[in-house]
Symmetry: C2
Subunit: 275 residues, 2 copies
């Protein structure tokens, strides 16, 4: 293993203090430009709407040959923002599909990426060996790597991540706004299923605001499909079509089985929550 020197930059003094206290980096800087001097790899981990501004901050300090990547949940708009701010720089966007509802320095842990997929979306002008080097970086962190077009990434993640978050935020909002059922009742009886949705609805508000603003088209398209299917279910309930309901409820079990077989979730009941 080569010697690695890790520099973290964050504009928030409290975050920098936690990074130091947790001994997460060799150096911690307030100024983003100062952090990238002599760096071979720069990974931007900010809300996707802030990528372009941070890229502009570091543009003048990058070494020749430095690779700039990120970990954002939207790729096409980020790729465009980074390339516009960093002409001539090797830009390879990345998205490790991992994480929890918590954020900040205390939310990380060594096995976060183990067995999870990291998606790379290199633009056409990046050479294959450069992408492969970044792929190796992620594999060393425990991830499996897949490469795809940025626009396709955004359609896939609209389904597997953005729409689920939107729905979770929405139903938690709905449940707290009813007249006939109190918020206290919603909380008390949340173990009937509702509490599952509150986990991802507790994710960082700014991070998720930016995801929806920057993956608008794919999210709206997927949402359209979802509401179409939900309306069909609504109609089946209204007309008492039990067979339609049972057929769907049987089919959805197979997807859960596939996710468990692929090692993307555990088969323990209730996510293994302690009882």
């Amino acid at each position: 293993m080569p010697t690695v020197r890790l520099t973290v930059s964050d504009g928030d003094a409290e975050v920098r203090a936690r990074v130091l206290a947790l001994d997460l980096a060799d150096d911690v800087t307030e100024n983003a430009g100062a952090a990238v001097v002599d760096a071979d790899l720069v990974v931007l981990a900010v809300p996707v709407g802030a990528m372009g501004a941070v890229a502009a901050e570091i543009a003048g300090e990058l070494s020749p040959g430095a690779v700039v990547s990120d970990v954002g949940s939207v790729k096409e708009k980020v790729l465009n923002a980074l390339m516009a701010a960093l002409p001539g720089v090797i830009v390879i966007p990345a998205h490790p599909v991992a994480g929890t509802e918590k954020s900040g320095p205390d939310a990380g842990f060594a096995s976060l990426f183990t067995g999870r997929w990291c998606i790379l979306t290199p633009p056409a002008e990046v050479e294959a060996w450069q992408t492969e080097r970044l792929a190796d970086f992620w594999r060393l962190l425990g991830a499996k790597v897949e490469t795809m077009d940025a626009a396709h990434h955004d359609r896939v993640l609209a389904v597997t991540s953005h729409l689920p978050h939107l729905i979770a935020y929405s139903i938690v909002g709905t449940a707290s706004d009813l007249e006939t059922v109190t918020q206290g009742e919603v909380i008390k009886f949340s173990a009937g299923g509702f509490r599952d949705f509150t986990r991802i609805a507790a994710s960082d508000p700014v991070m998720w605001r930016d995801v929806f603003l920057n993956n608008r088209e794919a999210v709206l398209e997927t949402l359209g499909r979802f509401t179409e299917d939900l309306t069909a279910l609504q109609r089946a309930i209204r007309w008492g079509e039990g067979d339609t309901l049972e057929a769907l409820f049987t089919r959805t079990r197979e997807i859960r089985r596939g996710i468990i077989d692929e090692g993307q979730d555990i088969d323990t009941a209730d996510f293994g929550r302690p009882h």
Copy 2:
């Protein structure tokens, strides 16, 4: 503690064999009527659409003074079905808001009800001391007990359980039916949030079909509120209203906090899934 004799009845020979193998009961019968002879308390644990038929099967064998209860997720239709099938019998419907996506004899465990709420919905003609005796039964199993009107129960559970299940089933169905994103991609990248929904969408299909058919009005009303709110979010995304999104995403965190403070979920990241 009084001596308790527990008899289990199930129409499925495999289920009866598992109950015996796991030593879950003193006696196991195929015939429901035979199981209730001399019983002080009878608890029906079948899909809510089957409650009336099972009640009719046991009607002739009940001892005078026996209490008939259940554990179904819908209460008004169940109360009506039980009272129609069991004239003169003490009927006190119950709903322990607990359980996992698994069902059958192997899915139970001793601490399932610990700290969870059990809702009793006694009709007006049941005396308070009879309801209190059933409440004590549930408290001895570890549950906290609340009493409410059956119709109100159905409105509360439409929000905290039925709508979440309907949405989970629906999004899992949508995700498996897209043309631009394959099922393999949905499974691989499900850790972005989608996999959370697949857990409750793997629940028993017949049990859930019956819930929606028997709590139609409350589910449709709550679903109407949800789609109204979701449409407003859709519009905010289309018009780039970041402040609206961020305000909602900030507000939903408080509900999660309330659920954790009330002991209805754990604060460990990612539901404490092993990493």
